[in-house]
């Protein structure tokens, strides 16, 4: 358990020792029982006092400074921790509940999440509403003391494992699109919820379509206030950007510069001038972005909230990956095209094929640039044709709103 009055350096030492003992040899992927392994590991994290380091202590967190979470992340970046099933819960839904949840919701959900008992997913995107999430059509209609949920979500990561989801639904079609949305907690095991896997371009199925057919939501499922779901969504998207942007390049990421340097040594391509230059420039870009993230964290600790600047992390992180794909190609050359079955080539291929995800998920690069331009630099918005129109009169996605 957490020691009282511990310094950051003592904390770091404790994390380091714990990881060395508990996390050596673990892998985050490839094993059949990903979920079981993740649950065991998350429970161990909780028992050791490393789950929810900056979350409130009364709901199972450690109630510590956010810098200590950063310390933990730094130490953990040398390991491949099996935490992916909990990423959305820990990085987005949980922090949003901390911000906006009722005491009852926090008591019910935060501790089980921290202990690795319950997996969460985020149900925002729909076939007609992606970048423009506010045009979503999934509906929640008041029904007695609760609600009835109907509609379709798409690209829902981890829904195949999820116990709960944070879902955005339209609760009022007579007002403009941003004003009639509510965020709910939905029990993913409830009758009427159907999850169908979707295959991504790497061939895996990390995301899903989710259908809601007359799903009953209790009255206390509302996160924040009725018709104030847009504010709740913005809160969650802010956490999402920080959580995506600040996840440092991992030791085991085949596109991390350090691993590409090793690959170049192995393949004996590192002496080629273009490969050398590519590797050094990639290292520099990686290091500078991590310095930016550290600076953002230091500013936050000094009382200046990152605000929309999380979009810089998110955007720069996505662009960094594209640069890494280019360098990986020059390092590996033809060996990225074909390899013997007994050689290690699959990982690099999966990484190359998975790279577009970072530029799309969590708000595309174009959307991040828009946010930086408008919210940070104060540049004028584009003319918005739909801002003040009641939702039911709008065209949405490739359909009409109906």
């Amino acid at each position: 358990m957490a020691a009282a009055g511990e310094s950051a350096e003592q904390f770091r030492a404790r994390v380091r020792a714990w990881l060395a003992a508990q996390a050596t040899g673990l892998t985050g992927s490839g094993s059949d029982d990903v979920v079981e392994q993740a649950k065991r590991f998350q429970a161990a994290l909780y028992d050791a006092g490393f789950a929810g380091i900056s979350w409130p202590a009364e709901y199972g967190g450690q109630g510590k400074d956010a810098t200590l979470q950063q310390v933990f992340n730094e130490e953990a970046s040398g390991y491949e921790l099996p935490t992916s099933p909990f990423m959305i819960g820990m990085g987005m839904c949980g922090p949003t509940l901390v911000d906006l949840g009722t005491p009852e919701q926090k008591t019910r959900h935060l501790r089980p999440l921290l202990r690795g008992e319950e997996i969460w997913c985020q149900l925002f995107s729909e076939p007609g509403a992606g970048s423009d999430v506010a045009s979503l059509q999934t509906k929640a209609v008041a029904d007695g003391d609760g609600w009835l949920l109907n509609g379709q979500k798409v690209w829902t990561s981890n829904a195949q494992w999820a116990d709960f989801g944070a879902v955005l639904a339209r609760t009022n079609t007579d007002v403009p699109k941003h004003k009639g949305i509510t965020m709910f907690i939905v029990d993913m095991r409830a009758p009427g919820v159907e999850v169908r896997p979707l295959r991504d371009m790497t061939g895996k199925s990390p995301f899903n379509e989710v259908y809601f057919d007359d799903v009953r939501l209790p009255g206390n499922a509302v996160i924040g206030a009725v018709d104030a779901g847009w504010q709740a969504a913005v809160t969650m998207l802010g956490h999402e950007r920080v959580s995506i942007g600040s996840s440092a390049r991992r030791r085991y990421d085949p596109l991390a510069s350090q691993n590409l340097v090793e690959l170049a040594a192995e393949l004996d391509t590192g002496t080629e001038p273009d490969v050398r230059a590519g590797l050094v420039d990639l290292y520099a870009a990686e290091r500078v972005l991590s310095l930016f993230n550290t600076r953002l964290q230091q500013e936050a600790d000094a009382g200046k909230a990152p605000g929309a600047r999380g979009s810089v992390s998110k955007l720069a992180g996505a662009l960094l990956l594209w640069r890494a794909v280019e360098v990986a190609g020059s390092v590996a050359g033809p060996r990225a095209i074909a390899w013997d079955p007994e050689d290690e080539g699959d990982q690099l291929a999966v990484a190359i094929n998975g790279t577009p995800a970072s530029s799309i998920a969590g708000g595309t690069n174009q959307i991040q640039r828009g946010i930086i331009g408008e919210r940070i630099l104060g540049l004028p918005k584009e003319p918005q044709v739909d801002r003040d129109v009641p939702f039911r009169e709008l065209r949405v996605g490739t359909q009409t709103s109906g």
Binding site: V261, A264, A265, G270, T271, E272, R276, A277, L279, V280, D281, Y283, A284, A285, R287, V288, L289, L291, F292, T294, R295, Q298, E299, A302, R309, V312, L315, A316, Q366, Q368, R369, G370, I372, G373, E374, I376, L377, G378, L379, P380, K381, E382, P383
Partner: protein, 374 residues
């Protein structure tokens, strides 16, 4: 590591900013850059004597304030933002760092107080013939004459070399690299003003033909030259970051007011997204700079890597930002009257100074243990 400025450092930044806005606006910069001397000597004396900008890394016993590199970088940022044509780099960076690194208290006591007060201007010759700051043989040879030394050779790329009244020259000696002081009126020395891409930074060539010189310090100054180069790269990075911030502000301001096709050009995504990329690059550049400045003060082991990182990342980013500033201003951006071209020229010339990105890349390659290279 600490990547944010404290209150006092922010205060220093605001003070310098105000003085430059009051005494060195763009009109004054243009006046000075087209003058013969090309440097604002009055302003330099004022900045040195009143604000102490030349003595920020100099200990108090030699007339400085002993503040630190973070503070010096704060000042450099403002000078770079305003393109102030003063001999800051020559005197307050290269000469100060060289003198302090010599371990020669007598030389420090002789030169530093007047350099710090701005009464004298010092310049340093340390580039190789190809303009790099690496390990190639120095272009000036020193020979012992029994009671003194004399220098022969040609030293290129000497910042503020025409204006300076103290000249410090890195030269080859029989026992490694030495640092020599040459009097401005020394026989056998001629100074030639170079023509420059950047009109706001004056550069000279020094020709030596058996010019009498005095050796400062003892022992091989090869390592010193290297570390002076690293500290210079950091101060330069600060100037560049200041310039980047200014071109970003300038461009964003313009994009808000310039109307075409019935709306502000900043509402068009091609313009807005370019500004967003400039902002993202600038924020990252600031982070690289703060780290390097912090390392100069607190972590000398990390200094070589931090300096090379700043130089490699920031130089090209600044030029990209400056080029975008011209582009997003359209025709007016391409005129002599508009200031965008001054930043464009400063950015390109700074990108190539002190060995440029190429040398920084080589240094990082070495630190990453990449095989090959020269």
């Amino acid at each position: 590591m600490r990547l944010i400025l404290d209150d006092e450092q922010q205060q220093l930044s605001a003070t310098v900013h105000k003085v430059l806005a009051d005494h060195a606006p763009a009109t004054r910069v243009r006046e000075v850059m087209t003058s013969d001397v090309g440097e604002d000597t009055d302003l330099w004396r004022r900045l040195s004597s009143e604000l102490g900008v030349a003595g920020l890394v100099v200990p108090e016993r030699f007339g400085g304030s002993g503040a630190g590199h973070v503070e010096r970088c704060v000042v450099a940022e403002e000078l770079g933002a305003a393109l102030t044509p003063v001999p800051f780099f020559a005197s307050a960076v290269l000469a100060v760092d060289t003198l302090l690194g010599l371990g020669d208290d007598e030389a420090c006591a002789e030169f530093l107080p007047t350099v710090v007060s701005g009464e004298s201007v010092a310049a340093v010759a340390m580039a190789t013939a190809d303009g790099m700051w690496g390990a190639k043989p120095l272009p000036v040879q020193a020979e012992s004459t029994g009671d003194g030394w004399q220098l022969t050779g040609t030293a290129p790329y000497v910042l503020s070399g025409m204006l300076a009244d103290v000249l410090l020259v890195y030269a080859r000696t029989p026992d490694g690299t030495g640092v020599f002081a040459v009097r401005p009126d020394a026989s056998g020395m001629t100074r030639v003003a170079a023509r420059t891409l950047d009109p706001t930074r004056r550069i000279a060539r020094l020709d030596f033909a058996a010019a009498p010189a005095r050796r400062l310090g003892t022992g091989d100054a090869g390592e010193l030259r290297r570390s002076v180069g690293e500290l210079a790269a950091i101060a330069l990075a600060a100037e560049q970051v200041g310039g980047m911030r200014r071109v970003l502000d300038m461009t964003v301001d313009y994009a808000k007011v310039r109307v075409q096709f019935g709306r502000a050009i900043g509402s068009y995504q091609a313009v807005k997204h370019t500004c967003a990329d400039m902002y993202s690059d600038t924020e990252q550049a600031i982070s690289a700079l703060r780290y390097a400045a912090w390392a100069a003060d607190h972590d000398r082991d990390a200094l070589p890597g931090a300096a090379a990182l700043a130089q490699l990342y920031i130089g090209p980013s600044y030029f990209r930002a400056a080029a975008n500033a011209v582009q997003l201003h359209g025709g007016i951006g391409y005129t002599w009257e508009h200031d965008a071209h001054l930043y464009y020229k400063r950015a390109k010339s700074s990108e190539l100074l002190f060995g440029g990105a190429r040398q920084a890349r080589e240094r990082l390659a070495g630190l990453l243990d990449l095989p090959g290279g020269s």
